[in-house]
Amino acid sequence: MRWGWIPRYAPLAAEGLWRTIWLLMLSVIIGFALAVPLGLAQAAGPFWLAAPARWFCTVIRGTPLLLQIWLLYYGLGSLFPQFPWIRQSDLWPILRQAWPYALLALSLSYAGYEGEVMRGAFKSVPRGQLEAGRAFGFSRFATFRRIWFPQALARALPTLGGETVLQLKATPLVATITVIDIYAVASRVRQDTFIIYEPLLLLAVIYMAVAGLIALGFRMVERRFVRGLG
């Protein structure tokens, strides 16, 4: 086993790991923010809201994330030359980068999977509780905020923890659109040094550690949250 390359690449690796982690955190937050309305629309929305929400979740869950990332990055990019004004727009400095597409693809993917989870969670809250809330004179919004959403979240939390680990496992795909995450750094070590297995093994250990931290974090939140409800 050869490990002499580690000191040389440690700064790059730290940067890459940081990029992986903020991509993960931001995409989970944005994705979850989208998943709540997606789940609610499917669980209780009128047909014209429920149907598009269901379709969105089906399409996201039915196609590979790698393909979604490439469609967003290269597919959209291939349309740019037809619209020259895009390069003059204020958004161009952002559209030129690769990470916005990575973040968008990861967020939409998380939203698709969690929209389905939240649908089930919203549906599983007993109707009687909601009716009780209304009987107390809560407004519709207050019923949602104080009864429906917390109960659904408590039910969804164990699943969300697992799904967030799955999201972590999906992040290395962004390396294929030039985002330099921790996986891309390991690839660079392989290219520079022709050492194949060691960087991959270290990478596996790093992902396991992060996955462990995520699981631990969710367990702590779960314990607090569920106790708070009781």
Binding site: S78, F80, R87, T178, Q191
Partner: protein
Amino acid sequence: MKKLVLTASVLALIAGAAAADTVRVGIAAEPYPPFASPDAAGNWVGWEVEIIGAVCAAAELECEITPTAWDGIIPALVSGQIDAIMASMSITEDRMQTIDFSDRYYNTPTVIVGQREIQIDATPEGLAGRVIGVQVSTVHQAYAQHYFEAGSELRTYQTQDEANQDLVAGRIDATQADSIALDAFLASPEGAACCEVKGTVANDESILGLGVGVGVRKGDDALREAFNRGIAAILANGVYEQITAQYFASSIYGE
């Protein structure tokens, strides 16, 4: 253990032992026109594909073209999934620590192609502050990392096609690659519309290498010798010139 043996034998069954004397020649699974790319019927075509056929015939080798991911083509060779690499791979010191090479079969200059509307040249100063795209695991990536990374932003692509695509989209200012591969891109309507050759990079043989050769496993001298014989034969009998004339205006064998 029993289960492992079972799995292994099941795998061995589906794998099937290919004829032992077939030489599996690895080419990059990603299109690299005009050297090797799949056509709409699923066949691999291009200058290098024809050269593989000619060299193998001249060396009396039974070759089987095996598309392999470019980024993992050296691991595939080392781990025995393929027996040789003919994928426009430059002969460099770095690679020779891991694999052996035959004599070269072509050698072309390295150029920078960039957006028409910007003023850049092929020097570190000329490219300062610009975004440069290169293909992963190539001599161009190594060169750009060595000379340009200090002053410019580098983006690494899985395929040269994707770097070209981002040049068309305007996400990068320039790309560095083999002149012939980029000529093919500049001949396309999209390439002609957006981009032009900005110059040839200063040569550095220690990075850019000594031309393109056949990669073989270390110590596989019989195969390396066979490829050398094949290359020498088609250079001598005019087959090399014949194939080249179908694709390019002049010879690409190099000085």
